[in-house]
Amino acid sequence: MEGGLMRRLVRWEVLLLVILAVTIAVNSAMAPMFLTIGNQINLFQLSIEKIIVALMMTLVIVNGEIDLSVASMMGLAACAFGWLFQMGVPAGVAIPIVLALGLLGGAFNAFWITVIGMPSLVVTLAMLIGFRGMARILVEDRGITGFPDWFNALGQQPILGPLPLALLVFAVLFVVLLVVLHRSGFGRKVYVIGNSAEVARYSGVAVPRVKALLFVASGFVAALAGLLYTARVSAVRGDVALGFELDIITMVLLGGVSIFGGKGTLWGVLLSILIVLNLRNGMALANITGHLQTGVIGLLLILSVLVPNLVQSAGRLSFKPGSASR
């Protein structure tokens, strides 16, 4: 069982690597400047907020839960920042307030999930609507601009070599979460709970505390991503980051993370992020519009689970009749 699981994970990441290599090869053949550092950074920049949130989402889904409210929290953070700024609060003061708001929103989700005992799918679906609603209360149908230059520069100017702040945040967060999920005791608990919350509870794991921490962190990271987005586009509207949750969850699941929890690695998610970014960039180079790109990613998401399932059942039918599934 354990060996089979490992084999499957390894095969999964190899499959992702092959897809990535093919995508890059085709793209490079189409456009010679594709593999330049400038273009690669640019391609990261365009979706940087989504992929930052996707890293945190990986831990939430491995834990067997889901956070559908992240995109609305990004929107709420952006709108809260814009609103505070309009009220005359200096941007430097507004940033920590908005980050605290992210923590608070995450704690709010965690309360209903761990204390009341509601499914995270329902709670975060409600707050997908709720956080977005709060964002709209704050800015209504206005657009807010005119943030200080230093704030906009944070989202647009490179600060370390060719790397802008958001890309550094992504890199740091990736390393931190890599250590937390794959090298720490806390990470083991995340997997154990994802495999079976009951078993984890009887083994003495503080299940509610782990879950609550993850949702609080998820709210914080989403708020941070919302601020980075605001700095990058230097404007705020009520529909900031609308619908991003689908892209974010797609990236995580395509990376081989099981929607039922307990399975998947951050490396797989990193590969899937690279695939999605390169695929979108390549399609843009080939003049394929944004909407068709979304459709292709959707198809890829389904196939990424369907094909291994079909291969597995075909294998079982021909080689191991009667062997137990799962």
Partner: protein, 350 residues
């Protein structure tokens, strides 16, 4: 003191509570908004409920089997646009043919979901998240930025939303509302009376037990998605008739609205329980709040979504806490009867 609580079925309690909340909400808005109890308001809300109710019933069938259908919004848009296109090309088609075409188109899209979920063993949330994007993409590509306009539609379609089946005093029961309520009645009778429909609950409450009992779980799940698609297709037709002008964004966000309505209506998101009466009340409650807030002077319409989110939380939290309380009561009684030496006959839990 708690004796009566034990004898009432949880679903009955849930439906009563929902009806009570709905009545309170209507009374509250009636005291806040001038001319609230008018025929116009009733017609506006009832025709709006009709569309989302059709989708929510289909969604409930899927959720009862422990799955979810996030593609319904795209299916509504897809069928509304394509049936509109069909009517523009062939305005003389018989209305029944048009409705059948809409349902068949929706059913076909639902069947794709069903095959991949039931036989491909891919989690429903992944499949329908994918087809949510794919169906919408196909529609955008097909439409080529054209839109369907009222002017090009046959007269009977444009007049359908105003068509009244019968009136109770000032209140008109529109044909579209009657269709939705008719579907609700049929599904209600099926879910409570038909052996085939009870299988939805069996599969949703315990798939392994259902399989051991000889139920073909794959076929049951497939059928649920097929029906959800067909009802979304029917809703697409009603959407076309109600709005007339259809662009590629038609039905956007209906997946979340329908899940919200179903969950508020007391359908367990983890499958196995839920009633059509609950779904009708849940849908109506969500829509009444939605429609009333836009007319309430005290808060701006921008409060709508924030309040809707809180409503969903509170509705489901009340449900969760009530179930936990009933569970504890049941266990206490069980222990008491064990010690008294009178073993209780096992009863089916709601």
């Amino acid at each position: 003191m708690t004796g009566w609580l034990r004898s009432v079925h949880p679903q009955t309690l849930r439906v009563t509570a929902l009806a009570l909340v709905l009545a309170l909400v209507v009374l509250f808005f009636g005291s806040q908004i001038d001319n609230y109890y008018t025929a116009r308001m009733f017609n506006r809300i009832s025709t709006s409920v009709a569309i989302i109710l059709l989708i929510a019933i289909g969604q409930a069938l899927v959720v009862i089997t422990r799955n979810i259908d996030l593609s319904v919004g795209s299916i509504v848009g897809f069928t509304a646009y394509l049936v509109g296109d069909l009517l523009v090309a062939q305005p003389d088609l018989h209305p029944l043919v048009v409705v059948a075409a809409a349902m068949a188109l929706g059913a076909a899209l639902g069947a794709v979901n069903g095959v991949v979920v039931a036989y491909g063993r891919v989690p429903a949330i992944i499949v329908t998240l994918g087809t949510l994007a794919i169906y919408r993409t196909i529609l955008v590509e097909y439409s080529d930025a054209r839109s369907i306009t009222t002017a090009n539609l046959p007269k009977w379609v444009v007049e359908l939303p105003q068509a009244t089946l019968f009136s109770i005093g000032d209140l008109d029961i529109r044909v579209t509302v009657a269709i939705a309520l008719g579907v609700a009645l049929v599904v209600h009778l099926a879910l409570t009376r038909l052996r085939a429909a009870r299988r939805l609950y069996a599969v949703g409450s315990n798939p392994d037990a259902a399989a051991i009992a000889g139920i073909n779980a794959e076929r049951v799940v497939f059928t649920a998605f097929l029906l959800s698609g067909a009802l979304a297709g029917l809703a697409g037709f009603v959407f076309l008739a109600r709005f007339g002008n259809i662009t590629v964004v038609a039905g956007l966000g209906f997946e979340l609205k329908s899940v919200a309505a179903v969950v508020v209506g007391g359908v367990n998101i983890f499958g196995g329980s839920g009633t059509v009466v609950g779904v009708v009340l849940g849908t109506t409650l969500v829509d009444v709040i939605d429609n009333s807030l836009t007319r309430w002077a005290l808060v701006s319409e921008f409060w709508r979504d924030a309040l809707l989110g809180m409503l969903i939380l509170i509705a489901v939290a009340a449900d969760t806490l009530m179930n936990r309380y009933l569970d504890r009561l049941r266990r206490k009684r069980h222990m008491a009867e064990l010690s008294a030496g009178t073993l209780p006959v096992p009863r089916e839990a709601g």
